[in-house]
Symmetry: none
Subunit: 253 residues, 2 copies
DNA sequence: ACAATATCATTCAATTTCAATCAACATCTT
DNA sequence: AAGATGTTGATTGAAATTGAATGATATTGT
């Protein structure tokens, strides 16, 4: 991809997002760090954005005006969850209707989706908060009883609403995975997750390797309910084989 | 997550919440206490918030959520809103199921309810955020299409969910009040509000005096739909008489 | 008032990001 | 075709950020 095209697209991305990190840009354009840095330098000279440690911020932060004179920044993210999230987000295509359930891994996926044009349905308040200001994402919440600990909406109203929709894709976290299938520890959560599974055409499960082997209290679904499982490289081959023999595609990030 | 992004999102969160505790922020961003503290330091220098023991508070103390339809309020009006909110909150009794619709005046009422034991049903994200951590309040959200400007859930799913419940009390803000009744400017909002009116046994309307006399585009309900209207002392006696002759109790704060 | 608990500011090693440099490659010119 | 020019991606040491640990300070409950 040519520099001019990259810069044009960065301009566009920064419009719909208040912040972009360098790593995301490199991945998005399949370009080297150096090239993206040069692009950001140029765009900053053109006053199209402001460079900060770790990426760049919009020059017109919607509400948060007059702030970035001191802006100094950084971060680290790339733990297993981040890598899993990136891998899973790569499976999502523009224009799809995607259900996201609660859980921190799925929340990480949500953050990776911010550059796509999607219709998102979720019962998670943190995910809603992280997506609500993105103009390229249409957001629908399930409603229901609000669990203050998990910060998700659950219960009959949530399930009824889920039952009334159809989605192209479900991205779900899970409490535990064993030969017996997927399981979880919270009755209400299980109810919602089963509804989500029922109305989604394709199911992606995100779960780091620590979720495997331990048995959850309440079964959610058999392994074959998933089409894709995204995990990390620490996953024992025993479980990889188990999943594949159930017809599940396994991706390791 | 990069520091710049965290800080942007903290700015965003503090607008709707008045207070955020450190632990919530750490969990939300999957960042260490140290990092969040540094973020708060920077944001305080930038006057975006004020650090307090245990977290941070908004720099505009009683700044409610953004307005429902009409954005900017003078400080005098805000003061009136606070008094209206206190008066309205005084009408709520422990143990009731209360529907709160969106809008800045209702959000102010929500904050006054924090010491009561209630079941709250709302379609407003700012209200949900301000009540979610209170242990004495059971919170249910309506679900539905999320309107990013008003930060409320609306549409068919919202109305269907409202249709399935019964509430002791509805506290509702309104765009405008005239002899013709209550009205508003947003079709989806009106649909939800009519559902709320249908399922609540008692209806309290909160509206400062500027809402009177101007005609909204879309009618919501006749004046007689309300049981109580709480307004401020600037309300012309003409409207007080009008409401009372429709069988509405009028309280001025 | 006191002890128990929670939060805070500071420090430091590990990690991440940065800017500068350079060789390889592509594109354009003559 | 050869040379000039500009772009790219990798490398490197420097600078900045992060998370954990520590002791100090503030708040809470009795």
């Amino acid at each position: 991809m040519k520099a001019a095209e990259r810069q044009l697209r960065i301009r566009h991305l920064i419009e719909s997002r208040d912040f972009i990190d360098l790593e995301t840009l490199c991945r998005e354009f399949d370009a080297s760090e150096s090239s993206v840095r040069r692009d950001l330098d140029i765009l900053e000279q053109e006053k199209a954005l402001k460079r900060v440690y770790g990426g760049a911020v919009s020059v017109h932060p919607p509400q948060a005006a007059r702030a970035f004179d001191y802006a100094v920044e950084s971060s680290r993210l790339s733990d297993e969850k981040g890598r899993i999230a990136q891998r899973a987000a790569g499976l999502v295509e523009d224009g799809q209707t995607v259900i996201l359930d609660g859980g921190s891994t799925v929340a990480a996926v949500a953050r990776e989706l911010s550059s796509k044009s999607l219709h998102i349905v979720t019962n998670s308040l943190p995910i809603a908060e992280s997506l609500e200001s993105l103009r390229n994402i249409e957001l629908t919440l399930t409603g229901g009883y609000f669990d203050p600990r998990l910060r998700v909406m659950l219960g009959p109203f949530c399930e009824q609403m889920l039952g009334a929709i159809r989605a192209d894709l479900l991205i779900m976290g899970i409490g535990s995975i064993s030969a017996a299938g997927f399981s979880n520890n919270n009755t209400l959560v299980v109810g919602s997750e089963q509804k989500m599974l029922a109305v989604a055409r394709k199911v992606i499960i995100v779960a780091d390797h620590t979720k495997f082997g331990r048995g959850g209290v309440i079964p959610v679904a058999p392994l074959s309910a998933a089409h894709v499982v995204v995990s990390d490289t620490g996953l024992a081959s025993e479980y990889i084989d188990l999943l594949r023999s159930s017809g599940v595609e396994v991706l390791l990030a």
